[in-house]
C-alpha cells in the first residue's frame, strides 16, 4: 500500500499546486506583461529565483520561515494550533514558490504575444479591463495556460529537495514519491525503489504525451515544424 499512498500524495500535491499556481500566476503574469513600471525586472528576478537556486537553499529558508520559531510558523501556530512545517499545507506553500517560474513565464510569453491592437480594439468597443482579460486575452493564451499547468504539475511531481527540507518524511502526509524512492535506496531496497521509479516515469510520460498529442503548440523541447 506504500506505493499507492506515496503516489496519491504526490499527485494530490501536484494538482493542488498546479491549480493554485494558475490562479496566482495569471494576475501576476498579466501585470508583468502589461506594466511599464521600471522596477519590473526586480519582480521578474524574484519570480525566476527558483530556477537558479538549489532547492535545498530555498527549502532551508522556507523551513526557517515556516518552523515553530519562524514568523509565518508562529502566526500559523497561533491560528491553527500546529506548525506549518512538516504538514501537507506547508508542502503546498513551498512547492508553489518553487514552481512559480514554471507557471508565470509561459503565461507572460502567452499574454505578451497577443496582438496589442486586439486589446486596443476591445477597449474602444467599451470592454472593461476584466472583460478584455476574460474574453480576449485568456482565450488567445490557451496554449500558454496549458503549458503553465503542465509544467507546474510535472515540476511539483518530481521535486525532492524542497519537499525533504520543509516536509520531512511522514508517510501519507509529506512522504512523496521522490522521497520514498530516496528512502528505499538509502535502505538498499532497490526493488521497491524501482517499482516507485517506474510508476513515476510512466505517469510523467503519460501526462506529457497526452498534452503534446492534444496540443502541438504547447511548450516542448522539440521544434514544432
Amino acid at each position: 500500500m506504500n506505493i499507492v499512498e506515496a503516489l496519491w500524495l504526490s499527485i494530490r500535491l501536484a494538482v493542488c499546486v498546479a491549480v493554485i499556481l494558475l490562479l496566482l500566476g495569471m494576475p501576476l503574469a498579466y501585470w508583468l506583461a502589461q506594466t511599464k513600471w521600471r522596477g519590473k525586472f526586480l519582480v521578474e528576478s524574484v519570480v525566476a529565483l527558483p530556477l537558479v537556486l538549489p532547492p535545498t537553499v530555498l527549502g532551508f529558508y522556507l523551513l526557517l520561515v515556516m518552523g515553530a520559531n519562524g514568523p509565518l510558523g508562529k502566526l500559523w501556530t497561533a491560528w491553527f494550533g500546529h506548525t506549518l512545517a512538516f504538514t501537507f499545507t506547508g508542502l503546498v506553500l513551498a512547492s508553489i514558490l518553487y514552481s512559480l517560474p514554471f507557471a508565470v513565464q509561459p503565461l507572460v510569453v502567452a499574454f505578451e504575444s497577443v496582438d496589442q491592437r486586439l486589446l486596443d480594439a476591445a477597449a474602444i468597443l467599451g470592454a472593461s479591463r476584466w472583460r478584455i482579460f476574460r474574453q480576449i486575452l485568456m482565450p488567445l493564451s490557451i496554449p500558454g495556460i496549458i503549458t503553465a499547468v503542465v509544467l507546474s504539475f510535472a515540476h511539483t511531481l518530481g521535486e525532492f529537495g524542497v519537499v525533504l527540507m520543509v516536509g520531512g518524511n511522514i508517510p501519507g502526509i509529506t512522504r512523496t514519491v521522490s522521497i520514498d524512492i530516496y528512502d528505499h535506496v538509502q535502505s538498499l531496497d532497490y526493488a521497491a525503489a524501482n517499482r516507485m521509479a517506474i510508476a513515476l516515469l510512466l505517469i510523467s510520460f503519460a501526462v506529457l504525451s497526452t498534452i503534446f498529442a492534444v496540443n502541438r503548440r504547447v511548450w516542448s523541447p522539440w521544434p514544432t515544424k
Binding site: L118, D120, A121, A122, I124, L125, R131
Partner: protein
C-alpha cells in the same frame, strides 16, 4: 438615451487640441502639435508616412496620453490636461478602425460585431448585428470564424463592429489600404449611408492622393506633426504649402528645384537644383515628377567639410567653392557656390579649424529634413 439621440441627430462636433511627443524619442524628432475642429461628415487627414497621423488618432482614442490636451465631443470632455480629466478609451464611445482589421480570431463574425453591444438585451443585440452585417454586405459570413476571413471582407466586418455601439465619432486609419479602388469606394459609400442618419464626425486618415479626391469634403494636411493646410481638397492639394510660408520665413537659403523622382515609401523626393547638375533629396511634399518646388534651408543647418565626407547619414553632399567670407560677431557667414549659391553659417572656431578661405573647395552636407518645402 433620448438626449444622446437628439444630440446625434443634430450633428456633433469634435474639438481636438493636443501636443504629444513620444517618450524616449530622439531629440530631433518632431512633436505632434495640432488644434482643429471636426464637424459632422468625413474629414480627411492627409500627410506623408511618419507625419504623425496614427499617433494623432491614438491620442484622440485615449490609447496614448498626451501631456497637453483638450479633447471634447460637443460638451463632453474626453481629456483636459488643465483639470486632469482623462476618460479611459472604453468610456469614450468612439469608433476606431486600424490599418489591420484586428478581428478577434477566436470569435465568429457575428460575435465580433456583437462585442461592443454587451449592454443591450439579447434580442436588440441580434437585430443590430443582423442589420449591420446586411448594411456592410457580409451577412452570409455571420457564423464563420473571424480567423478564416481576410482582405476586404475582414475590413468590412471590422467597420461593422466599430460602428455597432453607435459611436459619437469615427476614426479611420488608412482602413482601405491594399484594397482595390472599386471595393474602396463601395465601402466608403456604405459608411456614408450609415452616417446619413447619424451625422457624426468621421476622421479618415490616408496618404493617398486619389483617396482624398474621392472622399473628401474637407481636408487637413499634416506634416511633421503640424497641420500645414486645411480646406476643400482642391485648395489644399493644388495650392498646398500656404501655412508654411510664415514658417519658412527666416530661412537664409531659398532654392528652386525640379522634382525628378518621388519615393513615397521612403517619404522623400529627389529634385534637381535649378541651373545645376546637382540633385538634392527633400522630404515628400505634395508634388509630382516634373513639378517645380522651392526649398528653404537654414544657413545654420548646413555643415561644411574640407574633405569629401563619407559614411554619413545625411543624404545631400554637394561640392562647392567658397565665394566669400564675412565675420558677423561669433558667426562666419560663408557664401558657397555649388552651382547655386548657398549661405552657410559656421562658428569662428570652426572657421579657424577648417582654415576657410575664399577660393577653397569645400563640401556641403545637408540632411533631408533640413530641406523645407515652401510656396513661391
Amino acid at each position: 438615451m433620448a438626449n444622446q439621440m437628439t444630440s446625434s441627430m443634430t450633428g456633433s462636433r469634435l474639438d481636438v487640441h493636443l501636443r504629444y511627443k513620444r517618450p524616449g524619442a530622439a531629440a530631433e524628432s518632431f512633436e505632434l502639435s495640432v488644434d482643429f475642429q471636426l464637424d459632422a461628415g468625413i474629414t480627411i487627414l492627409f500627410g506623408p508616412s511618419g507625419a504623425g497621423k496614427s499617433t494623432l488618432l491614438d491620442c484622440v482614442a485615449g490609447l496614448l496620453t498626451p501631456s497637453v490636451a483638450r479633447i471634447a465631443l460637443d460638451n463632453d470632455l474626453l481629456q483636459d490636461s488643465d483639470t486632469q480629466v482623462f476618460v479611459r478609451p472604453e468610456r469614450r464611445r468612439l469608433a476606431y478602425l486600424f490599418q489591420a482589421p484586428a478581428l478577434f480570431p477566436h470569435l465568429t463574425v457575428e460575435e465580433n460585431v456583437a462585442f461592443g453591444l454587451n449592454h443591450l438585451h439579447q434580442e436588440s443585440r441580434d437585430n443590430t448585428v443582423r442589420n449591420l452585417l446586411e448594411a456592410f454586405r457580409v451577412a452570409p459570413l455571420a457564423n464563420r470564424k473571424a480567423s478564416q476571413i481576410s482582405g476586404g471582407e475582414a475590413q468590412r466586418i471590422a467597420l461593422a463592429r466599430a460602428l455597432a455601439p453607435s459611436p459619437r465619432a469615427v476614426l479611420l486609419d488608412e482602413p482601405l489600404k491594399g484594397l482595390d479602388a472599386e471595393l474602396r469606394s463601395s465601402i466608403v459609400d456604405d459608411l456614408r449611408a450609415w452616417n446619413r442618419a447619424r451625422q457624426v464626425p468621421i476622421l479618415y486618415v490616408t496618404h493617398q492622393r486619389d483617396e482624398v479626391d474621392a472622399l473628401g469634403e474637407r481636408v487637413l494636411a499634416l506634416d511633421r506633426g503640424l497641420i500645414v493646410a486645411e480646406g476643400a481638397p482642391h485648395t489644399v492639394l493644388d495650392a498646398p504649402r500656404k501655412k508654411r510660408l510664415a514658417y519658412a520665413a527666416g530661412f537664409e537659403n531659398h532654392l528652386s528645384a525640379m522634382v525628378q523622382d518621388v519615393r513615397e515609401a521612403d517619404g522623400v523626393m529627389r529634385a534637381r537644383l535649378a541651373g545645376t547638375e546637382a540633385d538634392i533629396e527633400v522630404p515628400l511634399g505634395y508634388a509630382t515628377v516634373g513639378t517645380r518646388i522651392h526649398v528653404a534651408i537654414r544657413a545654420g543647418d548646413i555643415l561644411l567639410a574640407a574633405r569629401k565626407p563619407e559614411g554619413l547619414s545625411a543624404r545631400n553632399i554637394l561640392a562647392g567653392v567658397i565665394d566669400s567670407l564675412e565675420i558677423h560677431g561669433p558667426t562666419v557667414v560663408c557664401r558657397v557656390n555649388a552651382g547655386a549659391m548657398f549661405l552657410v553659417h559656421v562658428t569662428r572656431g570652426a572657421g579657424r579649424a577648417l582654415e576657410l578661405a575664399a577660393g577653397q573647395s569645400v563640401w556641403l552636407v545637408i540632411k533631408t529634413h533640413s530641406c523645407h518645402l515652401v510656396d513661391d
